[in-house]
Amino acid sequence: MIIELEPMSEKPLYEQLILEIKRGIARGQLKPGEALPSVRSLASDIGINMHTVNKVYKYLAEAGILQKVRSGFCVSTSLPLKPTPKTSAQIRQVVRELVIEKNLYQMSHEEIVSLMGDIEEELSCKP
């Protein structure tokens, strides 16, 4: 897959990278069992510290999304992916924030669903 990052964005690269890998797996661009680049190689290509990439891989491994193999990290082969209790709590938190915004600006349910549709389309158009 081709990872897309915005170095100048407010969102830290660490979080962007986690999201991008998740996006790649969700879209099937990173297949189960597929090896990810080595920590050194990816860090070098992006231009960030190796510890940052290592943190990303470790975080995703703990969440059960990646698995550690001898030569590095690869996409988990245990399908379908099930969120860990920690991940479930994080998803709940994200939705909680969305619901607060929805209520604050009195957006309708349909608006949110439509917005989700737009974003799905946007994500599927990305390389």
């Binding site: 897959m1 081709i2 990872i3 897309e4 990052l5 915005e6 170095p7 100048m8 964005s9 790649g24 990173l30 990810l36 680049p37 050194r40 190689s41 990816l42 860090a43 070098s44 290509d45 992006i46 231009g47 960030i48 510290n49 190796m50 390389p127």
Partner: protein, 381 residues
């Protein structure tokens, strides 16, 4: 004598012409090491700058080459003439290279001024530059494997080292160790294990440099254009593979020349003229091969279109502008970047991130290699 003159003249032309046309095969968004929008390369000021640079370096090539021929006017002959030619030639090429460097620095300064005046940094609202990285970049075939390169290379070195021992009785008591400008033998040494292994030693000094260059090509940071990520990835991979093959060809054929030289040494072939001519023709062939790849692919493969790729016209910004990390647009210095090898900004190829200690270690090692290769024959005389 002729081969010496031709070799020198050829080196002059290569150095000068390659410098002169370097702006032509640099990436579209770069002018003399400064980031510009892609269509800036059509701007009259930029075109004028490139033209001036081209002609200045072309004329400098002729200018610095001329003193070499003074030997004819001064009536020098034989060894004296050869020495004069070598000194004038080497001095001239060094001067030409320095001229190339300073003319580039001047052009770089001019480009910066043009950018400030005509292309101030675009910051449309909501614009955030993108960085694209492929997870499959080095999985595809994009370089000749180091193992393959080393295997064949060491095979040739082993053959070169083994040859004297296989034919020990046939080798005369004295072997030639230096040839003059006309291919005649000018210095001899006693046949010994040390003297017959001198050439394999040189092979072992030169070969690692090319293996390492191939390695650097593989490891060098990806450069994907956000406007055409997939296409630019294929271009970059094809570019690296082409140059990797070139390096392997150069490396193995260089070792082959040493093998031929060893044969001439051991059997004291009186005139190595055919080796001198052979080397010259080989050098010319290599140069044409390199120029061909450069013209075909440009830097990073940008000039080459993969099959089925339509040129994409997009107004969106492309590759990241990190001008501030490039000193003089030539030397990359970025302490927070773990990459050791990055793509060059001017010309074809790969350069160092000088914020990494490995870059300095390797530069030092190359310098040391040069010194050692000069000292070895001196010690042997």
């Amino acid at each position: 004598m002729q081969t010496l003159i031709l070799t020198m003249a050829f080196s002059f032309i290569t150095v000068g012409v390659v410098t002169a046309i370097s702006p032509l095969w640099t990436r579209k968004h770069l002018q003399f090491g400064v980031t510009f929008p892609e269509d800036a390369r059509l701007h009259p000021k930029i075109r004028a700058l490139k033209k001036r640079f081209f002609w200045a370096n072309l004329m400098a090539t002729v200018f610095f080459m001329l003193p070499m021929f003074a030997g004819f006017l001064l009536g020098y002959e034989g060894e004296q003439h050869a020495r004069f030619l070598s000194i004038m030639g080497t001095g001239g090429i060094s001067a030409l290279a320095l001229f190339g460097f300073f003319s580039y620095v001047a052009a770089h300064g001019a480009a910066k001024k043009i950018k400030q005046a005509h292309f101030p940094s675009p910051t449309p609202s909501g614009y955030s530059p993108k960085l694209m990285v492929s997870t499959n970049f080095r999985n595809e075939k994009m370089a000749v494997p180091t193992g393959v390169f080393v295997f064949w290379g060491l095979g040739i070195v082993a053959l070169t080292a083994f040859l004297p021992f296989a034919f020990w009785e046939r080798i005369p008591a004295q072997i030639p160790v230096h040839w003059g400008a006309d291919g005649e033998i000018t210095r001899w040494a006693d046949k010994s294990i040390r003297s017959v292994l001198m050439l394999p030693l040189f092979q072992l000094l030169i070969f690692p440099v090319l293996v390492w260059a191939n390695h650097a090509l593989k490891k060098s940071k990806q450069v994907l254009d956000p406007k055409r990520a997939q296409v630019s990835m294929e271009q970059n991979q094809a570019f690296r593979l082409a140059w990797s093959r070139f390096l392997v060809f150069t490396g193995l054929s260089t070792l082959g020349i040493f093998l031929a030289l060893q044969t001439a040494t051991l059997f004291a072939i009186q005139s190595a003229n055919f080796i001198l001519w052979g080397t010259l023709i080989w050098m010319a062939a290599l140069t044409f091969y390199a120029v061909k790849i450069s013209v075909k692919y440009g830097q990073g493969g940008e000039k080459w279109q993969p099959k089925g790729a339509a040129p994409i016209a997009s107004q969106e910004p492309g590759i990241l502008d990190n001008d501030n990390f490039w000193k003089l647009g030539l030397f990359y210095y970025n302490p927070s970047d773990p990459a050791i090898y990055v793509e060059r900004r001017f010309g074809i190829g790969v350069t160092f991130n000088f914020a990494r200690w490995q870059a300095w270690a390797m530069t030092g090692a190359i310098a040391l290699l040069c010194v050692i290769s000069i000292l070895i024959p001196v010690r042997m005389m």
